[in-house]
């Protein structure tokens, strides 16, 4: 019998799952597109993981991270729910113990994490908008009719990058169209976009900070060789991309779960229990003028969790009661 830890990272663009074995090696990983439907994708992902795990396995612990972590934690009853920064830092330290700087560029967030003697010493995240993140590249790739997987390859073929405004995706788009109209090659424009993103990232997040080697680059955008090249050209340092760069958040979550369940049994619901149907609904609470948008997670037509309210009226509802209700309904349907 083999024992595993499950790590789940529900991000805005991708939902990633990993199975770590007891030696903290990645046994299996999944990179799925969230496509705005985290519940469905997560359910499917867990089913796939179950198939991979085979017949003879046991799950020792589960951890969740990512912007959809609350949803995932409620659905899977994971042992630990952590923010992306901590999860990514733990994962980076795991694959490269002497790491000093972590670049993480995801779909909606970009982060820089500074690590000193194995401890996070500082971090920064993009502030109010998503410029300088993966969605910026996604959007421009779609405009240029290039599959995002081939985007980086184009940049490497460029002879001379064109200058493109990188502050804002909208500015960049109009700038890019002008450059296309004046006859620059697609390769040069793609390279210009990569450099614009890198410039934007460094100006926004690394402003005034010293970037010390070794530098680890992770997150979905690390697949893009054009961006890696642009970083190396801009910073004159070597960029390391870990083997499992795309699922580092999930690896971090699994490692955190391992730490968490050291002295106790897991609360993880197991892969099978997802057969019950999860639906998320949202409604506007009209109890006061704040009109909070409350999200309600329903399991078999019974609310199991609510969040999004400012006053706590909905989110503090007793979870035990909700669980009991679900159980009751289950027995009722069976009878």
């Amino acid at each position: 019998m083999t024992a595993y830890y499950v790590g789940i990272d529900v991000g805005s663009v991708s939902t990633n799952l990993v199975l770590l074995d007891e030696q903290e090696k990645v046994f299996s990983k999944l990179y799925l597109r969230t496509q705005g439907q985290p519940i469905r994708v997560l359910t499917e992902g867990l089913k796939l993981l179950k198939n991979v795990a085979g017949k003879d396995y046991t799950i020792l612990g589960a951890g969740v991270t990512g912007s959809g972590r609350q949803l995932a934690a409620t659905m899977t009853k994971a042992d630990i729910m952590k923010n992306e920064i901590t999860a990514h830092a733990i994962a980076a330290l795991h694959c490269c113990p002497n790491v000093n700087t972590v670049f993480e560029i995801g779909g909606q967030d970009s982060k820089i994490i500074f690590i000193c003697n194995g401890v996070v010493s500082d971090f920064a995240m993009n502030t109010v908008c998503a410029a300088g993140t993966g969605s910026f590249l996604d959007r421009q790739a779609a405009r240029l009719n290039i599959p995002i997987e081939e985007f980086g390859g184009y940049a490497l073929k460029s002879q001379m990058p064109v200058q493109i405004a990188g502050r804002c995706a909208v500015f960049a788009e109009s700038d890019m169209i002008h450059k296309q109209q004046t006859g620059h090659s697609t390769e040069d424009i793609v390279n210009g976009l990569c450099m614009a993103l890198v410039r934007n990232y460094l100006n926004n997040l690394a402003k005034g900070k010293t970037i010390k080697e070794p530098v680890v680059f992770q997150g979905g955008v690390a697949a893009n060789v054009g961006i890696i090249a642009a970083f190396e050209r801009e910073l004159q340092v070597k960029i390391t991309v870990p083997e499992h760069y795309d699922v580092m958040g999930a690896i971090g979550a699994a490692l955190l779960a391992k730490e968490e369940v050291k002295n106790r049994a897991t609360t993880f619901r197991g892969f099978d229990n997802l057969n019950s149907e999860f639906v998320a609904k949202s409604f506007e609470c009209n109890n006061c003028a704040n009109k909070c948008e409350v999200v309600e997670l329903m399991q078999n037509n019974c609310a199991v969790a609510r969040w999004g309210d400012r006053c706590g009226r909905w989110s503090s509802m007793d979870n035990e009661v909700k669980e009991k209700k679900v159980e009751k309904q289950k027995t009722a349907t069976l009878a």
Binding site: S67, N83, I85, T86, N117, F123
Partner: protein, 354 residues
């Protein structure tokens, strides 16, 4: 018996009795003055309220920021103003039809040799021409840059809409200033503006191992709607929260001088002074809350970041805009508190995290 009342309620009660006793303003039409619950409300409300009430007027305050006020703010204000200025517009809009006058003082300078944000100085015009249907605006000018003497003129100016009785105005001004002093001394004793003005208390964590200083202009720190309740969120992560309002002016003055130079933005000066004060008190971390596009904070927040880092104190700059999603702020606060705890644990036991 007074414990259940906020300072404001008690002040109102006191002023009410004084009104009846001194001025006999119980008959006739009572003039209603509206004050938006935004911007420098958090600094001067007790002063304004007791002044107008002592003159026999009734003060109408807008409600706490709500979704409707936020929506109106965005709708009526010019697009590139900062969030707090926008919110002022929303609050002003919500007061239409509720009062005879809208009080928007033109604060040019609130201390000798200091300036205030130019948007606050231009607020009366900005609001007048952006929000239609407002009641007449009392736009008294307050300019203490050269000396405090002009304050008397400001009081007479504001009072002229209600009464011409010089003796009454003088008395009301004295009362107002003493109410202000009372408010300030309550702040210095460690109370928060939100406690004194709105009677909402910060949930104090039972056992906290983190001391976090939260800096920022008072209207960013204490409007719990626009800052997504950040002070209470920090408390939920078991951090004890410290804000700049508790510092003595003399200390702020002393600390805020960088290499002997005076910081001339009043609100910026307080942040800078508090920063050095909290560095000296060895806080575990410092969070600066800034409104997107704030000109003063573009300097001050950056200075704060540099000096905090130089002293080895973790610093995080939180930028507010019209966002209402909590996820982003939660992630940042959780990561920040995690980072500090991880660091502390490491200093104490030394072996790495795992």
């Amino acid at each position: 018996m007074y414990q259940n009342y906020s300072l404001m309620e008690l002040l109102g009660y006191k002023n009410h009795i004084i009104n009846l006793y001194y001025f006999g303003k119980c008959g006739g039409k009572i003039i209603k003055i509206a004050i938006p619950r935004a911007l420098l409300y958090y600094e001067y409300y007790p002063l304004w309220k007791s002044f107008f009430e002592a003159l026999g007027a009734e003060v109408i305050l807008s409600s706490k920021t709500t979704k409707d006020i936020m929506n109106d703010s965005i709708k009526y204000c010019v697009n590139d103003a900062c969030l707090p200025v926008k919110l002022f517009h929303g609050h002003a809009k919500s007061l239409i039809g509720k009062a005879d006058y809208l009080f928007i003082p033109r604060l040019k300078s609130i201390a000798k040799g200091e300036h205030i944000c130019p948007k606050i100085s231009g607020l009366p015009e900005m609001v007048k021409f952006s929000v239609p249907g407002l009641p007449p605006i009392i736009d008294t000018e307050v300019n203490l840059r050269k000396s405090k003497r002009s304050l008397k003129k400001s009081f007479f100016d504001a009072a002229s809409y209600i009464t011409q009785d010089k003796k009454n105005i003088q008395k009301a001004a004295t009362l107002a200033l003493s109410a202000h002093r009372e408010y300030i001394s309550a702040l210095k004793s460690g109370k928060l503006p939100s406690e004194l003005l709105e009677n909402t208390h910060l949930t104090k964590p039972t056992a906290s191992d983190l001391n976090i200083a939260v800096l920022g202009h008072s209207y960013n720190l204490y409007d719990s709607y626009s800052n997504i309740n950040i002070l209470n969120k920090l408390a939920a992560y078991k951090a004890a929260v410290y804000t700049p309002e508790g510092f003595e002016d003399a200390l702020i003055d002393k600390y805020s001088r960088i290499k002997g130079k005076k910081m001339f933005w009043s609100l910026g000066k307080r942040q800078l002074g508090a920063l050095f004060g909290y560095i000296e008190r060895k806080m575990d971390g410092i969070i600066y809350i800034m409104a997107f596009g704030c000109g003063i904070d573009s300097f001050i927040a950056d200075l704060c970041e540099r000096y905090a880092k130089r002293n080895g104190i973790p610093f995080y700059l939180m930028i507010l805009d019209e966002h209402s999603g909590e996820a982003g702020i939660n992630t940042r606060i959780e990561a920040f508190t995690d980072m500090i705890r991880w660091k502390k644990r490491n200093e104490n036991y030394n072996p790495a995290f795992r």
